[in-house]
């Protein structure tokens, strides 16, 4: 194996050399394993903290007692209405994602398959909207939406999330639909499906992986978001769980065990979605560099 590195050795003794490098290799892999295990402890730290502290009372936490209690969990709903807020998060996420998917599929199909004059320019304009940070438009956006009254219900946040998520979804669907052969579309038209029928019955089923990618990415993004929810859901009864948690934390009077229990509740759905649909997330993230 190391013939080039040490020719004299290789000529005289053949046996000991590979064994030594094998031992070195094994040592290397053991070291990597240890380093990775340490890294795992660091990455699991937040979860350990949330679980351990949430099973203490505030008094136990403050004096650093090692005792445990389920009191925090029993009383959580009085301070942080978790069921209501989980429901709010679900509604806001579902409506936003539905808009992002429907609008994205339609526009993506159009850009990819129904070339019309100026289509490329419009496509580039919409896709470049991905680069606009929310804070750049936050102030006028808030005033505009507040004037329409939408900040008093779910729709205020929903339309903002939809606008922020749509450019990426259009980008993804356009690249996806481009792979469908034109002949297939034309065959569908000739068979009398019409463009509408071709889109929903022929093209959309082929885009299911892209739909899954957009759904998972947007779910995690919207579920975890604070800024939009904080400003565009003015009615406390409609707050998402992430906003509710942050608002509670900003009070600074709340007990830490309670905040940790709330954190765990808010994190659980996104973690489950993440673990189940990991591969769609990776795909979405690396879109655009896989050329």
């Amino acid at each position: 194996m190391t013939v080039l590195a040490s020719p004299p050795d290789a000529l005289t003794v053949n046996a000991p050399k590979p064994t030594r490098s094998l031992a070195r290799r094994r040592l290397g892999r053991t070291l990597i394993f240890v380093a990775m295990a340490i890294m795992a402890v660091i990455m699991l730290y937040p979860f350990a903290v949330m679980i351990l502290i949430s099973f203490k009372t505030n008094a136990q936490y403050l004096i650093g007692s090692s005792g445990t209690s389920t009191q925090t969990w029993q009383q959580i709903n009085a301070t942080l209405p978790i069921w209501q807020e989980l429901w709010n998060s679900t509604v806001v996420c579902s409506l936003s994602i539905l808009l992002i998917l429907v609008i994205g599929v339609m526009a993506g199909f159009s850009f990819a398959k129904l070339q019309f004059r100026g289509g490329n320019v419009v496509f580039l304009a919409i896709v470049s909207a991905m680069m606009v940070p929310l804070q750049a438009i936050l102030i006028p956006e808030f005033v505009n939406i507040a004037k329409t009254g939408l900040t008093n219900n779910y729709l205020g946040a929903v339309v903002v999330y939809a606008a922020l998520g749509t450019p990426f979804s259009i980008f993804l669907f356009t690249t996806y639909f481009r792979r469908i052969p034109d002949e297939l579309i034309e065959a569908g038209i000739v068979d009398g499906l019409g463009y509408w029928g071709v889109l929903w019955r022929l093209a959309m089923p082929m885009a299911l992986p892209a739909i899954a990618t957009v759904t998972v990415l947007q779910f995690i993004q919207i579920w975890d978001d604070l800024l939009v929810g904080l400003l565009f859901l003015q009615n406390p009864g409609e707050r998402t769980i992430t906003v509710g948690l942050a608002a509670l934390a900003a009070g600074h009077t709340t007990s830490i065990p309670l905040l940790m229990a709330g954190s765990l509740v808010s994190a659980a759905p996104a973690m489950i979605v993440y673990l189940v649909f990991q591969r769609f997330l990776v795909r979405g993230l690396t879109m655009g560099i896989d050329r």
Binding site: A5, R29, I32, A35, M36, A37, M39, L44, P46, F47, V49, M50, L99, I103, A107, S110, F111, L114, Q115, F116, R117, G119, F123, I126, A129, M131, P133, A136, I137, L138, I139, P140, E141, F142, A146, A162, T166, T175, R178, D182, Y195, W196, W223, D224, L226, L227, T242, L245, A246, M260, A267, M271, Q278, R283, L285, T286, G288, I289, D290, R291
Partner: protein, 308 residues
């Protein structure tokens, strides 16, 4: 992954006679299908950019507007708070090498596929799923006076440096930066690992047979192969440092103590919603936009230069 993505819309040149007969209807349907997208992005992203530019020249509290003109910008640039925020943003950029280097190391280790690497991979990515609000709350506990960091420090004999990092003007930003690095590890590791998966293993094998050490293989084969992924991660991390820290700042420090952890994005929020100075806040938003756009354009230039 076989998805190909390029920004330019490719027009298919081949047209059958039938298609051209249908082309009028096809164009009409094409325009109709993009109208919802155009309306949404136009009204909620493009239009507010124009408004933000206009209102940056005014005194605006959300209800009444008073034209000020260019002196609004002159005033903003004389405001020391804005420079503090920009300085904080600049200092936060010092965390970017760590936010790239640690994931690079982690990805290379994962790529060795030692026992249990798949489980490790899932564990490393798990924090990616949770909100930065949650990470911020846990970080607050980690850095607190009676928190994990101080007890770890005293465990290894450094009880002398017992400190409340988030309460110190000169330390809070460091704590924020460390939390930011932690929050970026999952995403960037995922990116690098995807890049490594596209690396032809026979290249490394050949180099190893030729007697190249682990460092030389990494330096001359792995790293050049990953350059595009590193560029993407760099841009995403820098843009995140400018525009994604709101949740962390909101729960960890609220921008304080003083203005020591107020970044431009947080200044937009504070100026608008705590001080009701919407015009000035819009102005700060524009500055933030220009900075992130510059980062993006430089990146596109770099890629373009490499491709041609």
């Amino acid at each position: 992954m076989s998805l190909t993505a390029s920004l330019s819309a490719s027009t298919s040149a081949r047209r059958t006679p039938r298609a051209s007969l249908l082309s009028k209807r096809r164009r009409r349907v094409g325009v109709m299908l993009i109208l919802p997208a155009l309306a949404l992005v136009g009204l909620l992203i493009a239009y507010p950019i124009g408004q933000a530019v206009y209102y940056s020249f005014t005194n605006w509290d959300g209800l009444t507007t008073q034209w000020v003109g260019p002196s609004a910008w002159v005033q903003a640039f004389h405001n020391p708070t804005m420079w503090t925020a920009l300085k904080n943003n600049g200092e936060l950029l010092l965390s970017v090498p760590f936010a790239l280097g640690i994931p690079l190391l982690v990805a290379v280790m994962l790529h060795q596929r030692v026992a249990g690497w798949k489980i490790f991979r899932s564990i490393y990515f798990l924090p990616t799923a949770i909100s930065w609000v949650v990470i911020g709350l846990v970080a607050e506990h980690f850095f607190a006076y009676s928190g994990t960091m101080n007890s770890l420090l005293s465990d290894i004999g450094f009880s002398g440096i017992h400190t409340n990092m988030l309460g110190q003007e000169n330390q809070a930003l460091i704590a924020l930066g460390v939390t930011f690095v932690f929050s970026m590890i999952g995403t960037n590791t995922m990116l690098f690992l995807t890049g490594l998966a596209t690396l032809d293993p026979s290249l490394e094998e050949a180099a190893r047979i030729d007697g190249a050490g682990a460092w030389r293989i990494f330096r001359h084969i792995t790293l050049p192969h990953l350059s595009r992924f590193i560029q993407l991660a760099f841009v995403m991390t820098v843009i995140s440092a400018f525009s994604a820290l709101f949740s962390l700042i909101f729960v960890m420090t609220g921008g304080g103590p003083g203005y020591s952890t107020t970044t431009m994005e947080f200044l937009v929020y504070q100026t608008g919603f705590n001080q009701s100075m919407f015009g000035t806040a819009a102005l700060y938003g524009i500055i933030l936009f220009v900075i992130t756009a510059l980062v993006g354009i430089i990146q596109l230039r770099l890629i373009g230069a490499k491709d041609s």
